[in-house]
């Protein structure tokens, strides 16, 4: 990328710097160590060593047109939109949900009034796992970590007064994604909004559940099949909906390094694309443009930026070279980003605002399409109104005050950023190759490969913190005695009773014969290769509950149990 003179010059400069460092280590008085605790090793949060200085020599093998290029152009390193944030700002999307559908609906209206531009639903654990509020397994969990949704009636309350043709909703739901999506579509229909006007995202990414988050129901193989059904259905009838949000977020939270996060996520993406092509015989360009991604933005500023930029480039190449996609949109890695929950500390929680800000800034500099900023108190409980507000304001300050949005991909061309982007790419491709050798992601999961990689990485990371090699302010550095944080959100214990009461009522007034008939039809569809979605939609309309439908899945496909890999 550079002429010989520049490279020679770089080489000389690097030598001079090295000489200065040697002097420093031999006690040269010119450079005094900085105040505070210097890191024991100069490496990223993922333990990737970083050089003291990057020069043109570090990116000499990169080709501007092929590796970096322009925003909106292949290989999309600099972003998928030619206009960057001038064309469209990222979506401010705050993950929220708690208590009953009514409680969450109220908070949603508040968030929209406060300037949020997209909704994002947190469901409670019973809903996430396919259990109704009256299941014995739901005891003490109803409405705790998110909103409880049992039937279409709850979904209608949840979306009440929200124009579903204007606001897009992201639903963090995985094993029962088909069911919740069906409820959402029917709720829209009842609002008079046709499906082709409904936009949003269902997470619907089961592979990362087996790898990391462990919210699972059926085994991997049928889980993938249900996902492909939703992709097919969406492509035909709900063209504005993202039917899978291929997620690295949870993989990172479970202890992965940045490279592992990227590699496993892309390998998951490959598995989904392949399955839709094989199972549904669909043209890759017909569905790939609706695949979206979801990444973590961790505390290591440049590593995250490099990771996300590398991700776009890798995905574009894979889609073109492996899947022969022709539509440029199929090559786009569009992603939502969330700041790293696992980087927050229980100690000195107000410092979490600073962490989140730094992480949010990295995501924006990397060109995210959508962003969730964590609240300072999430280490203790679901966020309070106050904390959510600060988090949202953080995004608004970045967008409207800092000026970082003025130009597209401002860090491009930085010797360091481009070199690190390349390194991320190479290391990620090594992992992907390994997973290919294992027979693809499903087979790798079956062997526990990604699970064990994560388990090792997270243990190593913890040991680095415990030994003090890696500093975490308030945890192993600058510790103080402090009073516990107060004003945390409390979930009303009445929620459980209320949900059960509502569910009982619905089961009494609905046409139970119709429900049984619908469930039977789902069962038949599950056993055949018919798409289950139309049948799930009918069942939902008849007020079949989430668990009733999921029980059919469990009955036909069996239940997956935690293999407990270490």
């Amino acid at each position: 990328m550079f002429d010989k003179k520049t490279l020679d010059h770089s080489q000389e400069g690097s030598s001079r710097r090295q000489a200065a460092e040697n002097d420093h280590h031999t006690g040269h008085p010119a450079e005094k160590p900085a105040a505070g605790n210097p890191p024991n090793s100069y490496a990223t949060v993922s333990n990737l060593p970083i050089k003291p200085l990057y020069t043109p020599a570090d990116i000499k093998d990169q080709d501007f047109a092929q590796d970096i290029g322009f925003p909106g152009e292949y290989p999309f390193t600099r972003g998928v939109q030619a206009t960057g944030y001038r064309g469209r700002l990222w979506t401010f999307r705050m993950f929220s949900g708690f208590g009953t559908a009514h409680d969450t609906n109220q908070r949603w209206h508040q968030l929209l009034r406060d300037g949020e531009t997209g909704l994002s639903t947190a469901f409670d654990f019973p809903t996430l796992m396919g259990y109704d509020s009256d299941s014995p397994r739901a005891t003490a969990e109803v409405g705790k970590c998110g909103v409880a949704i049992d039937t279409l009636a709850d979904m209608q309350t949840l979306t009440g007064g929200i124009p579903l043709d204007k606001v897009t909703t992201s639903m963090t739901i995985n094993p029962p994604a088909s069911v919740l999506w069906a409820m959402y579509l029917v709720a829209a229909e009842k609002q008079g909004v046709p499906w082709d006007k409904v936009g949003g995202t269902i997470q619907n990414d089961m592979l990362k559940e087996f790898i990391a988050q462990k919210t699972f129901m059926c085994p991997p193989e049928p889980s993938i099949r249900l996902i492909s059904d939703t992709v097919e259905f969406g492509t035909k009838y709900v063209p504005k909906f993202n039917t899978i949000s291929i997620s690295g977020y949870h993989i990172r939270e479970a202890g992965a390094t940045a490279v592992q996060e990227l590699a496993f996520t892309i390998a998951d993406g490959i598995a989904y694309v392949q399955d839709v092509i094989d199972r549904k015989k669909m043209d890759v360009d017909s569905f790939a443009p609706r695949l979206s991604f979801f990444f973590n933005s961790h505390i290591d500023f440049f590593e995250e930026i490099a990771k996300l930029r590398a991700g776009r480039r890798i995905w574009a190449r894979i889609m073109q070279e492996r899947f022969h996609a022709k539509n440029p949109r199929s090559l786009w890695m569009r992603f939502h980003t969330q700041t790293a929950g696992c980087s927050l500390t229980a100690q000195q929680p107000y410092n979490n605002i600073v962490r989140t800000t730094t992480e949010a800034l990295a995501a924006v500099l990397a060109g995210t399409q959508s962003l969730h900023t964590n609240s300072l108190d999430e280490v203790f409980a679901l966020p309070s109104d106050f904390a959510v507000n600060v988090a949202l304001r953080t995004q608004q300050i970045i967008a409207e005050e800092t000026g970082v949005i003025n130009t597209i991909d401002p860090l491009a061309g930085s010797y360091f950023v481009e070199a690190l982007t390349k390194e991320m790419e190479e290391k990620t491709l090594e992992y992907i190759e390994k997973i290919d050798k294992l027979g693809g992601m499903l087979s790798a999961i079956d062997r526990g490969y990604p699970q064990m990689e994560l388990s090792n990485a997270s243990y190593e990371y913890q040991k680095r913190i415990d030994s003090g090699e890696r500093g975490v302010v308030g945890v192993n550095r600058y510790k103080t005695e402090e009073a516990p944080l107060t004003g945390l959100l409390k979930i009303n214990e009445k929620v459980h009773e209320e949900q059960i009461k509502n569910l009982k009522h619905i089961k009494r007034v609905r046409d139970n014969r119709q429900v049984l008939k619908c469930l039977l039809e789902i069962k038949l569809a599950c056993r055949s290769d018919k798409n289950v979605m139309p049948f799930v939609i009918e069942a939902v309309k008849a007020f079949a509950s989430e668990q009733e439908i999921c029980d059919v899945y469990r009955d036909v496909y069996g239940e997956y149990r935690d293999p407990g890999y270490f």
């Binding site: 085994p219 062997r447 526990g448 069996g558 935690d562 407990g564």
Partner: protein
Amino acid sequence: MENNLTEKIIRGDVRAAAKLMRGIEDNLPEATDELQKLYPYTGKAFIIGITGSPGVGKSTLVDALITSFRQRQMTVGVVAIDPSSPFTGGALLGDRVRMGKHNTDAGVFIRSLASRGWAGGLARAAISVMYVMDAMGKDVIIVEAVGSGQGEVDIRRLADTTIVVLAPGMGDEIQMMKAGILEAADVYVINKADKDGAGILKTQLEIMLGTKTDYQNEWKPLIVPAQALHGKGIDELTAALLQHKDYLYAGAEIMRRRRERAKLELAAAVEHSLRNHVKMILESEELNTLADNLAQRKTNPYLAAEQAVHKAMGKFREC
């Protein structure tokens, strides 16, 4: 330990049994006494040993077998052994994870054991723990060995019926065959039959077993394909196990096997007893006297050792 412990255990008291097992594992003197009282109540259970390389699906298979035996109204005990770390002495015992659904079944007792340095894929306490379950009245006891390629011999001596689990794609089939596995199993399970290579593995095994004609007895090992994870082939496996059991009891074979196990037990007991004596000697007062004598060259180490052992043996006979 309480006096009525034996009684409690034979009545099926889980906590009492677990405490005794712990005492055995931790080598508490009163546990050995208790075990002796319990001994007459043992010898009824059908004992199945399972071995095979790590990851072939032994624990998953045990989980499926528990379900199968429970459906036949039989109560089940499981002894699951995992290795201890040679460096720290700690252990991560994860076999139970695969058997979680039986945690609330009163007819099932699962006990994890760390090998605690015991070679051969078992743990020193394995037999005794198994006997406690036996005394509790468990109909079937399944012992999952640490799959090391070496433990097969020991598990065979311990069990009435031995299962060796193989699976495709583990890369060690050939290794296992070489390691004398062919003598070890009464029943082979080709697990993960859902995977490519299971058929080939089965054929390979059939050929290798087929070329071997000198079976010491009439039992020709059975090969059962299974998918432990999906509960497939389990009824066939259970049937094969019960068939082997019938075979054992039909002739003299059961006695021969139990004699083998008795030898193993005796060996363990002798070693246990001797080890305690060695310790007794090494910690005794006389050792100091002998050491003094030795230091002053009044004796030599070999003679001194003879004397010490002789003396200890004398004490041994008294007690």
